[in-house]
Amino acid sequence: MAIVHFSPLDKKRWRDLVKLRGQVLAVALVIASGIATLVMSLTTIEALEDTTDTYYQRYRFADVFAGLTRAPDFLTHRIAELDGVMSVETRISQYVTLDVPDFNEPVTGRLLSIPEHQQPTLNQLVLRKGRWISGRAEDEVIVSENFADAHQLDIGDNLAAILQGSKRSLTVVGIALCPEFIYALGPGALLPDDQRFGILWMSREVLASAFDLKDAFNDVALSLHHGADARAVMTELDTLLKPYGGISAIPRSEQMSNWFIQNEIAQQKSMAMVLPVIFISVAIFLANMVLSRLIATERTEIGLLKAFGYSGTQIAWHYVRMMLVIGATGTLIGCAVGVLFGHYNIDMYAQMFRFPVLIFQPGVHNYVLAVLAGVLASVLGALGAVTRAATLPPAQAMAPPSPPAYRHSIISSGALQRKLDQSTRIAIRQIERWPLRSIMTSTGIGFSVALVIMTFQWDDALNHMARVYFEQAQRQDVVVGMSQPRAIHAVQDFTHLPGVLRAEPMRYISADLSVGNVTHRGTLTAIQQHASLQPIYDDANDITVAVPESGLVIAHRLARKLNVKVGDIITVNVLSGRRPTLSLTVTAMIETYIGMPAYVNLAYINRLLMEAPNMNFVNLLIDEAQQPQLFSELKQTPIVAAITIKSAAQDAFQRTLVDHLMVFVSMFSLLAAMLGFGVAYNSTRIALSERGRELATLRVLGFTRGEISYVLLGEVMLLILAGLGLGCALGYGLVWFIITLFDTELFRIPYLIEPSTYGKAVVIIFIATLLSAALVRRRVDKLDLIRVLKTRE
């Protein structure tokens, strides 16, 4: 049996840790917060990646997607023969209007063909309920689970779809998920809205006859051999499909659903970089503060140990090990909380995305990273103080420290002299005496305020974005999409529908915009000269920009991507119709929060395309009172393929983003409050330990507990107040940093912080610091006057 031997230094270390447990815990908790955010982000990222990978693999998510007008089935073999292609799935895809029982508003559905009796080769379905289509009956349909849940559809229920102008009743036989539609966006939608957009799978035969595509297809998905050059395959595929109205192919990375998920992962990655760094930096500072104080009180002991023959290294190692114990505690708690939060996070994603598989197996590397961060924080935190301890000459160590030299200063002795009472003067001199420490304390508090501002700013920004996007930039109530381009004068037909106050044509044109060798796959939004329902709107500057006679108005972000300025020419490869290549001049630029739009005059583009004046969307302003009649008319209109209701989209935005955000906001506010608490508690505790004698003296002189608390807490409060102010500035900067980090192609977060956000942040952190002050105040009340004064410091 091994005999555990504790050296006297080991025992001393444990007693010190127990004695300082409050401060030790505060430091450990701040380290834990940093480690927790790190572990949470890392495990969430890993789980998201593992889960989607597994999902994709198991259900054979395709690598390349392409849409076209119509191609004969025999082309399938030619596609399969392309270099690098493993398998090919051709299919029929069509947007239709649905009529769902008990739901008044029109619903857009995407019909996709599947083979009868068997799974498709690619983009297979996860059948959650019911059965596969049988091929015996024409009306069988499998619906996506999101859609089924949103409408409480069950096996055997019916819904109607308008296929090529004729209304067909469909029977739900199965409910399924598909890796292709984890994130299912309706045409023109910003966010998923499961009530108004759904995926439906039907028999290839049935769809072929309904849409006049016998022995033909209008959509294709490919999987590639490992290591195949996707770009090359896509180029060849484009060439092959061009005569058949092919819209150029997109790789998996640009596929809508997957793109959103990758975006989510990317955001988590940015978080994983920023937050732990902040927390761990503050932890390092706190650790340094606590250890410095401990070493200051133990000068004599250090001197004695050295006199006994302990080396500087041994002493340093003693304190480093002590710090490592604190770091280890923090890391342990951080890992546990982080994994818990990570699990909670991924559960939330699993629910949101309806993953049929969920892989949460955090790899060892997460913990290794966490431990490394913990050790780093401990060692850096111990470094300064420990070096001082190790190099302290024993003789000097055993002499009491020379009294701190205070100085007269402008603030505490100058013109303000008579206005200050002695207690306030003590607080100010104290701060002047330890400027670095004071700055660090304020900065620590500042960072916790900044963190809260950052979290609440998301809410401000999203609300602002929603307001601008849905209320200012878009003034229509309904956007109607047509199954095929129509002549512009068809707008008149809409004006006559019940409740329509105004109708304006619009055309979306898919196109590749390129300058030099940079290409952006996007859409031109073509609107009429004086379009008022969907104007060209500058989100950041809050102005409407006139539609130019000719040329393009593009978003700044697009301009940056293509590296163009006003007056430059962009090559536009139109991806539909005769697929002409146009050269358009940039005439103006706008700032947008969402997307990278490019606006063009409708008449002008139609002229360039050498087509009869065409449109494929109509914007409607409606009278809300007549909305039901309008919707039921629209549902019956054959040319209507999709209907987007703005208020519904706005609701969806609110539900999905803002509600999801609240969890995030409360989680980080809690961590930030912990940080603020930790900083304030340590500062106050250390002030108390350094100044116990002073406070006892004041008590003897007849100061009440409240008055000496003011002397002690006054200093800390001044620093906290400074920190709260500083925090607002830091928050401003942090928000800017995060926004720059998150400037994606999809959206730019508006740089807007509501005054109430500053207020909330300041209040939350102030409460956290008050709590720590209250804890220390209890110790002040228990101060043993006689014992303190009897001893020499």
Binding site: R425, R693, G702, L785
Partner: protein
């Protein structure tokens, strides 16, 4: 001139028992004692005999286990913590062996600390003049010698014009020469302000400066000696 008929403070049969675990220490064991108006008392006794304990109880820093301490008909032993604080604030000045000055305040400011909260204080300048430190007003403690620091502590203790001045080994950390200066300052205060003063010391010679010398031994008063003729600090045979 001390007035032997008017006690400022009356301690009646006080005991103080410290209970540390199993061990019970009787620091004071039935002490009755009066501090008369304007008089100067020196407390002598072996280390551990209970002098500091008695002084702390008289000054309202601590409470007796049994017995009472009367000041103006009020019993200190029954006062609330807050009332004790007010008692100290208005009526008592303390001086300790370790000067306990606030390092971040100058001499003047250390005194002002007390004058700000007192009812009829001297000005800090007056108080410092009484201890002959009128030339050190704006020095921080770190810039003063030990004796000077102790005199600032005395100025701080008496600036409120307390009824009682309690000094626990005020010269304990000082050399002889400085000790004289400090004891001289205390005697001046006692004489000029008429403050009832109690001084603990290990130096029996200091007894010569007092009206009465109280010997304490094992928590009891072992004897009281009256001095017919008080001598000044400088005249003592240190």
């Amino acid at each position: 001139m001390p007035d032997n008929t008017l006690p400022t403070l009356v301690a009646k049969d006080i005991t103080k028992v410290y209970q540390t675990g199993e061990v019970e220490v009787r620091a004071l064991d039935g002490v009755s004692f009066e501090l008369y108006r304007g008089e100067m008392v020196v407390l002598l006794g072996a280390s551990g005999s209970g002098k500091s304990t008695l002084l702390n109880i008289l000054g309202g820093l601590d409470r007796p286990t049994t017995g009472s301490v009367l000041f103006d008909n009020a019993d200190l032993s029954r006062m609330s913590e807050h009332d004790l604080t007010l008692f100290r604030r208005d009526h008592v000045g303390f001086v300790f062996q370790f000067y306990n000055l606030i390092p971040s305040l100058t001499a003047r400011e250390n005194v002002a600390l007390v004058t700000e909260i007192a009812q009829h204080p001297l000005s800090p300048e007056q108080a410092l003049e009484l201890v002959k430190l009128e030339n050190r007003l704006d020095h921080f403690p770190a810039q003063l010698s030990g004796g000077e620091q102790q005199r600032v502590a005395i100025a701080r203790a008496i600036a409120k014009q307390p009824d009682i001045l309690l000094c626990d080994e005020p010269t304990g950390a000082l050399d002889k020469q400085t000790g004289i200066l400090v004891m001289d300052a205390i005697a001046t205060i006692n004489r000029e302000l008429g403050t009832s003063t109690a001084v603990i010391t290990h130096n029996t010679v200091v007894g010569g400066m007092a009206d009465r010398i109280v010997s304490i031994s094992d928590g009891r008063i072992a004897g009281i000696e009256h001095n017919r003729q008080r001598v000044s600090a400088a005249e003592l045979d240190w």
